[in-house]
Amino acid sequence: MLFNSAGFAIFLPVVFALYWGLSRKSLKLQNGLLLAASYYFYACWDWRFLFVLIFSTLLDYYTGIRIENALKTNHRRFWLWLSIIINAGFLGVFKYYNFFADSFAEASSHLGLSIHPKLLEIVLPVGISFYTFHGLSYVIDIHKSRIRAERNFVDYSLFVSFFPLLVAGPIERATHLLPQLKEKRPFDQAKATDGLRQILWGFFKKVVIADNCAHFANLLFDTHSHSGGSTLVLGAMLFAIQIYGDFSGYSDIALGTARLFGIDLLRNFSHPYFSRNIAEFWRRWHISLSSWFRDYLYIPLGGSKGGTWQKIRNVFIIFLVSGFWHGANWTFIVWGLLHAIYMMPSVLLNRNRRHMEIVAQHRSLPNVPEILSMAVTFSLVCFAWIFFRAENLSHALDYISRMCSGPMAMESTFLHSKMYPFYILIVFFFCIEWIGRRQPYAIASLFLSNVTLRWGFYYLLLAIILVFAALNQQFIYFQF
């Protein structure tokens, strides 16, 4: 069930009504209802995937308790590694087995050996990368004694499976979400209203901005050999806008939906395309994943405390793993590698903690150096997105070579007056994002003091969604 489907338009009000109508007096009932709704939501993709989800939940629930109960360090470590290995094993089988088998066969062929590994014909369960990371952070936190093991199975299952975050995050932490699930949640009008507002903005980003960009980005990436340099540059930029609108739009809908049930999820995006360097970009892009890697991989590896070489090594490990997390394809690995290289100047010059505040924090417009640094950062990010979007490495390299060598004149299709409404929408989108860059999401406090303007703006957004929505686009991050 997609957030942008008719099914969800019926599912959400029904669950909302049951949640606040029938079960608001009992926390147990509320959590039970949310869990049942979450399993139903997940089963709408394929009910068989539920078994994988429930197994993963049971595994981490049980190992969490065993880790806490273990008296000896060795036993604690045993249960931790058991959970890590089984979780990673699941990911490995579903997501990476075919990639490794293929790569091994290809490498062997270079050595003159002919190997034909058996490839698995399996479908990747939706959201497996996300809920596996939920579970892993939970058992690691127990092992590090940051939290106590959860004894209530319903509450723990809901932490793993809460439907707004189940299939594409944000990747939650037990320290953040579990305490909320254990507390009584009275109805909060301000929170619910804010949730609806965030859902509206998320829909606009997804169905208007991302899906329309997707149409042209797909066209250009699929037929890049017929296009010239500047058109392909536009294609890369459109994909950059697409993936941002798609994933941050999804996250906004997820966060807004959770707020309707009185639950706050971790923020996942903070206007990343207004970043002035790559380090800032990574503090603002897919925050829940970046911080997961920071806390559970980068810091355990020594973080930035060791010497220069250790720092460099850790940055490369983080970005390679991050790339690999996105999918079993060399394109994602190169994408991660590129970002690691982009990070090097900041790491070597110890400048990765610069720009902690959003650009032009106390001004309305950026100054010239800020504009230049944002433009450079955006260009670097766009370049790396080419690898992320491409089908394979040769597709990416071909696209780049065509981009640099093809005719530079923009294709007339993209200069046609029919395209103007589309460009105006993109400019409108970035203007609103700029105005709301200090807020948790762009329209969080837009026209808050004037109800007529505020409602007028919401009606305008609804009208734009109705008219300009592009149809039939999946969420990009569902495949991960």
């Binding site: 019926i10 109805f187 619910a192 609806l196 592009a470």
Partner: protein
């Protein structure tokens, strides 16, 4: 909670109040378009608004649409005729036309049922779904014809404006029509011939073509039989016409003989005349076609004239045509 629901209702109230008038405004203008949705609005519009009112109704798919000229039939038989061919569909959708014809128009005296190998098959998707846009809201015939097929959901059928979600092209077209911009008539009484010549290299197509097997759907057969019974009860004459199909293309359908046998059986059982043009000289000449199953305007003219004369000579129909 109450305050939240109250404010939410207040916010939604203008949307609820305005959605229907806006929907009507778009639909009324859109249905006037003769070119949008692959030119399908004209016959649907005439059916819905009771403007078909012809004594001869031609049913069928795109083969009917481009091959059976109602004007020629009219001129020869002296009765008004209308072509209700729906491109891309089988009898399931033709039955929707039939229901609309009987419910909202004058009852025809004769139905010319143009058959093709797919008539009694079922397709579960909605081909060219935009053709239903202006008519779908709360209309039981369209709701029933589109149900069980992918394309529109319940919200589209019962909540105003929802089906226009993301239909920028349709909204633009409605706006264009409302401003009185050119809207030339494309189909005349539902018919439009094509001046196209034969497309592509037949031998090449034949080489790459995998022979298809037609799967007859028992539900559609049942519906077809019900339709014939209904016509008999209402005194509507029916004639089956298997319109010309290019002879070399007939082998593309593996079980063609079996399908033709079924049509013949139904015709005999219901005492319906069956004109099979499969072996007719019209089917032998490639210059009459633009592809294996569709005739060009030259072929359509020859076929329609021949059909008109056959109908005129048909003893069963003499009482209709007064000869």
């Amino acid at each position: 909670m109450k305050k939240f629901l109250k404010r939410l209702s207040l916010f939604c109230l203008p949307l609820v109040i305005l959605s229907y008038p806006i929907d009507r405004c778009i639909s009324i203008n859109l249905e006037k378009s003769n070119g949008y949705a692959m030119k399908e609005y004209e016959p649907w519009r005439d059916l819905v608004h009771g403007k078909v009112n012809s004594d001869i109704a031609i049913y069928g798919s795109s083969r009917a649409w481009v091959m059976a000229d109602p004007q020629l039939l009219s001129d020869t038989l002296g009765l008004p005729a209308y072509n209700l061919g729906v491109d891309g569909y089988t009898f399931g959708m033709e039955y929707c036309s039939h229901r609309l014809l009987l419910d909202r128009n004058r009852q025809p005296k004769l139905i010319v049922q143009i058959l093709d190998p797919h008539t009694l098959t079922y397709r579960d998707d909605l081909y060219n779904p935009d053709q239903f846009l202006p008519f779908l809201l709360w209309d039981r015939e369209f709701i029933s014809a589109t149900s069980g097929r992918t394309g529109y959901n319940l919200l589209d059928k019962y909540v105003p404006l929802i089906r226009y979600y993301g239909k920028l092209g349709a909204i633009k077209e409605a706006f264009r029509i409302s401003r009185g911009q050119p809207n030339p008539v494309e189909r005349k009484h539902g018919f439009q011939s094509s001046d196209r010549n034969w497309m592509g290299d037949f031998e090449k197509v034949k080489k790459n073509f995998h022979r298809q097997i037609i799967t007859i759907d028992s539900r559609v057969v049942q519906q077809f039989n019900d339709f014939l019974s209904e016509c008999r009860l209402k005194g509507i004459k029916v004639v089956f016409v298997f319109a010309p199909e290019y002879i070399k293309g007939q082998s593309f359908t593996k079980n063609r003989a079996e399908v033709m046998e079924l049509y013949r059986d139904i015709a005999i059982k219901n005492k319906i005349p069956f004109y099979d043009y499969s072996q007719d000289s019209l089917s032998m000449d490639q210059s009459n076609f633009y592809n294996v199953s569709h005739m060009n305007s030259k072929g359509a003219k020859k076929f329609s004239s021949d059909l008109a004369h056959r109908l005129k000579m048909e003893s069963d129909f003499k009482i209709l045509f007064g000869n």
